[in-house]
Amino acid sequence: MYQYDKYDQQMVDTRVAEFRDQVERRLAGELTEDQFKPLRLMNGLYLQLHAYMLRVAIPYGTLNSKQMRMLGHIARKYDRDYGHFTTRQNIQYNWIKLEDAPDILADLASVEMHAIQTSGNCIRNISSDQYAGAAADEIADPRPWAEILRQWSSFHPEFSYLPRKFKIAVIASDDDRAAMRLHDIGIQLVHKDGELGAKFYVGGGMGRTPMIAPEIRDFVPADELISYAEACLRVYNRYGRRDNKYKARIKILVHELGKEEYTRQVEEEFAHMKTLGLNPPVEELARITQYFADPAFDTGASDDLDLSDPDFKLWVDQNTVAHKQPGYAIATISLKPKGGIPGDASSAQIDLMADLAEQYSFDEMRVTHSQNIVLPHVKKSDLYALWQKLDEADLAPANLHLITDSIACPGLDYCSLANARSIPLAQKISERFADLGRQRELGELKLKISGCINACGHHHAGHIGILGVDRKGTENYQLLLGGSAAEDTSLAKITGPGFDEDGVIDAIETVTDLYLKERQEDERFIDTYRRVGMAAFKEAIYG
């Protein structure tokens, strides 16, 4: 994992001191809320439904057990004993006191963490593949690139006041586990003629106008990657729609200019930048890369696994995947227990995950965009002991990628922008479909729920999506079908008129029943939907 050098640490410490002073001035009445609000947002502090809310950045979702324990400590000491892991691979605390915020940021800084650029119109926390550095199918480790992008974008003066927020994802395999094409810039590392470089996708996003990023360049040599990203941002910074908040994201610019014209302008800017020699120095790349060397794997580790315990077998089947190193597996801890709140973890669970990572996964964890936690490097011979400990703490649901492994945004229970609650729906669906046999029969099924059009819960990208709307003061839910955030990215379509809470759950049962009836061979829900089309599903739902 990356470790701060003295400059990184100094930057973060200085920021904490600055914010401490700003909070004191606010509490003393020297700053009004209008003056203070942009300052607190630059440090991840929002004002939400019940209190201040703090969003902490977890760079590309990667953290070690010391950091994870600090997240648990913050939950226990300053919040109400839990945190919420989000679709942006971050964590949010819902009950923060303004007077505590500087101490929390100081605590975070002591473990090389912060809440900078988790709000505002800047480049936000970089996201990446949660299996990075462990996946059997990656062509390179995307983390050094995510880290370089993090350093380049942190406090970047030119990009601190963009037309709108900006999200970048980096992946390095054909399987997209990071919703890459639904980011403002999606970068896929690829090889061409033996050389490492990147494919660039620009102009994706969800929110009120969902768009899939088109590919604008099939190969940018690795050492020019940062400059190319910079060129993409410069064109956006110059021409992005600052006049209208709802048209200010880069997706609108790319759409309005057209991919060809946008690309032409980027290439022009890029050609200009190349004359300036603005790429990060090669030594810097080497320095960063060494932090992401493989841990000391046991090269003699065996692939044998005793699967005689049937519950363990189910979990291994569903929640572990192949590791690049023989004798190891990647294990996902599902934060989606029956009837639970997707992504929430208590401080005790957070501590336990930290302990288990230390014991079984070379001290490393990842937060996934589907609100789970990954232990990236587990020896197969340790899996059973690990599973038993997880199971005792209600952390072993064997439901990865199944219907109860849903994504849900905080919704009206916590969010001031919400139209409807999201979490109760996730809970009720998880109870209705609790039977694991039935879930496995339905197979891979991505259910994603947002409490309003901002789409924090990725409803556009759900095989089944739910969008909460306000209908004359009552909660109403629209059902969407056919989205995907994976390499087969697609946007879901609304089925028709909305439902109340029970109605939408019944409708989900109707569509899953139809899928089971229509399914051919080993088709997933999304495959059947794509083959059969919306009309049949509509007919089943509305008659």
């Binding site: 004002l47 439904l49 019940h50 209190a51 006191k97 009206l412 229970d413 109760p424 809970q427 003061g473």
Partner: protein
């Protein structure tokens, strides 16, 4: 009726205007009629409350009930964590929100 709400500056707690002070409990809220601008201004300036505003509510047997579901969630707490609401012992409390 119109009632005033905001958040406590230091703690962020949701608060309601009682006529002389701010309370955590919506039951304590009073009808301010139409003449609330001065109160909002004065209270915010005195830093007894952060970003206060007026909302519609109706008077019921149990006290004022905000017209909008969002303010009822604010008044009670998250419906999905009854233990963290202001009425952890009342299993029916969530129904008041919906």
């Amino acid at each position: 009726m119109k009632i005033l709400t905001g958040n406590d500056l230091k703690t962020g707690d949701v608060t309601w205007w009682t006529g002389s002070d701010w309370s955590r409990h919506v039951e304590d809220a009073v009808d301010v009629g139409e003449n609330f601008e001065a109160i909002l201004h004065e209270e915010e300036a005195a830093r007894r409350v952060n970003v206060p505003y007026a909302i519609e509510a109706e008077m019921t047997e149990d006290g004022p009930r905000p017209a909008h579901i969002k303010d009822r969630v604010r008044a009670l707490g998250p419906t999905v964590r009854p233990d963290l609401t202001l009425k952890p012992a009342d299993p029916e409390a969530g129904n008041w929100v919906i």
